[in-house]
């Protein structure tokens, strides 16, 4: 997919508590985006929301947000999954030739107004898992972490090192919610135990946040920005919901989604051709697990990769230079925020988080328990 659809602008915001309403956050993100680009709402051909009805406390919750997003009497719809899926839907609409622009708006107020870990409890099978009363988002993630560590004989210290790197990167990033300057592996290892081997700082923090992003056709993109970032490839894949039928130590659906995206983008050797990755790792173990599935880390070599600094901002394969989802996970918006962070890198606007060479980036988003559904984007300049 050669330079047909571009990301032309975005606005994002995250904090433990934004002290705002869903409507006002939607209004501020979209109004700000239009002002940045010097356009008004009539320049948006279609708006696609990504929000979660359960977390919004009302069904078909986008019906409250079309006004604040400027979509009154316009073309509007919603994806009830991570926002990266809404973004793919936006790309497809532009590729259809019927739309020259598409806006994605994703948000979740899971820091201040609803407890984040609960949503997976309500996602479980009501006639099986829920009745067993053992599974929740944290215990499911702990099973996955344990399986992953055992497969390669990794020490639990790997989790502390992954989290310390992510939290240090997040502390330098003005867009992140969780700020722990100079976070160390020791500090992570002494945070509260949740479900062994996971501790508080291995897990994503309750976060308020959102992102609005405008995509455009090649022709329209040139009118809107001097710094378009191109969508070069994308892919998705889904595994079974039931954890007992999955190989929790690996993510075959991520590998398959990546293969599709790389093929579309003409990438043959991801380790050599990709300059950075923004991965929706909600728990520390998921970052190396998903990076292996994305073909960015060699299987079984995660400990060396983190210890040698290869995965750091200055390393040869920077993973989550933004700090990733351990710095903030406003549920529904996380995949779009990862995309926005990759766009900052590719435009050379990532400040203290900027990696050296940034020409091709891979972005990952997930949905469902233990990354059941995975989506991969390849972006380039």
């Amino acid at each position: 997919m050669d330079k047909k659809v571009a990301i032309v602008g975005f606005r994002m915001k995250s904090a433990p508590d934004l002290v705002t309403t869903r409507e006002r956050l939607t209004f501020e993100l979209t109004r700000g985006l239009f002002d940045d680009l010097g356009i008004d709402r009539t320049a948006v051909d279609t708006t696609i929301f990504s929000t979660n009805d359960f977390l919004d406390g009302r069904t078909i919750s986008n019906v409250f947000l079309d006004g604040p997003a400027g979509a009154y009497m316009r073309d509007e719809s919603k994806v009830e999954m991570d926002g990266i899926n809404a973004l793919m839907y936006a790309v497809i609409r532009i590729l259809s030739g019927q739309y020259s622009t598409a806006m994605v708006v994703a948000l979740g107020l899971t820091g201040s107004q609803v407890s984040p870990y609960l949503h997976v409890e309500y996602q479980l099978s009501p006639v099986y898992d829920r009745q067993m009363r053992l599974l929740n988002e944290l215990s499911a993630a702990a099973f996955q972490a344990r399986s992953y560590l055992a497969r390669y004989g990794y020490s639990e210290k790997l989790l502390d090192e992954v989290a310390a790197q992510a939290l240090s990167n997040a502390a330098a990033n003005p867009n992140q919610a969780r700020k722990i300057p100079g976070a160390s592996a020791e500090q992570v290892a002494s945070s509260s135990p949740y479900y062994e081997p996971l501790r508080e700082l291995h897990c994503y923090p309750p976060t308020d946040g959102g992102c609005a992003m405008l995509l455009a056709s090649a022709e329209r993109a040139k009118e809107l920005t001097d710094k378009p970032v191109w969508v070069l490839g994308m892919g998705q894949s889904i595994e079974t919901f039931y954890l007992g039928e999955r190989d929790l130590a690996k993510s075959p659906s991520t590998a398959q989604a990546a293969q599709r995206a790389y093929e579309m983008a003409g990438i043959r050797d991801p380790k050599a051709e990709i300059d950075l990755a923004e991965i929706s790792a909600l728990f520390a173990h998921q970052e190396p697990l998903l990076a292996e599935a994305l073909g960015l880390l060699e299987e079984g070599k995660a400990e060396e990769a983190y210890r040698s600094g290869d995965t750091a901002i200055s390393g040869k394969m920077p993973l989550n230079p933004s700090g990733g989802a351990l710095g903030g996970h406003p549920i529904s918006a996380t995949g779009i925020i990862r995309t926005a962070e990759a766009v900052r890198q590719l435009r050379g606007e990532a400040g203290d988080n900027q990696v050296g060479k940034a020409e091709v980036a891979v972005v990952h988003g997930q949905d469902g328990p233990c990354a059941q559904q995975n989506a991969v984007l390849v972006l380039g300049i």
Binding site: Q131, L135, S192
Partner: protein, 147 residues
């Protein structure tokens, strides 16, 4: 800007009814009264499912072959819980196991009993502890205990 305010809002959802699949989970629950585990096997690829499923995930065909599964198996993954999902600390650490029972290709979950958290490990052999009074529901399988 005017100050925002947080108010309590409610979303009470009445109890839902769920019809459950006869050949799948309902057969399994009925058999649990006899302290036995009934899964099923795909006649095409041979995958044995427990909890029972009425179709094969991989072949996408309806499956009809029941498969008795042992109540002994191996720990495939585990976690020790120190807090509930709302962040409240538990009185005692809670062992949860994912177990692959002999004869099944899938894993089931259960609480671990009669084992110290520090002794739990992947590959450990365990067996189902059945409830004395079984009624044909998931609580018939009380926990897993060391073999």
């Amino acid at each position: 800007m005017e100050e925002t305010r947080v108010v309590n809002a409610t979303w009470d959802i009445s109890t839902f009814k769920f019809r459950i699949e006869g050949f799948g989970i309902n057969n399994m629950l009925k058999k649990m009264k006899e302290a036995k585990l009934l899964g099923n096997r795909c006649h095409q690829c041979g995958t044995v499912y427990l909890p029972a499923n009425f179709y094969c995930r991989k072949c996408h065909i309806a499956i009809h072959e029941p498969a008795e599964i042992s109540d002994h198996g191996e720990v495939m993954s585990y976690t020790i819980g120190y807090a509930d999902v709302r962040g409240n600390p538990l009185d005692e650490p809670r062992v949860s196991l994912m177990v692959k029972l002999d004869g099944s290709d899938t894993w089931i979950m259960g609480a671990g009993e009669d084992m110290k958290p520090e002794d739990v490990h992947i590959g450990m052999r365990v067996k189902v502890k059945w409830a004395e009074q079984r009624v044909g529901n998931l609580q018939d399988m009380e926990s897993f205990i060391p073999e």
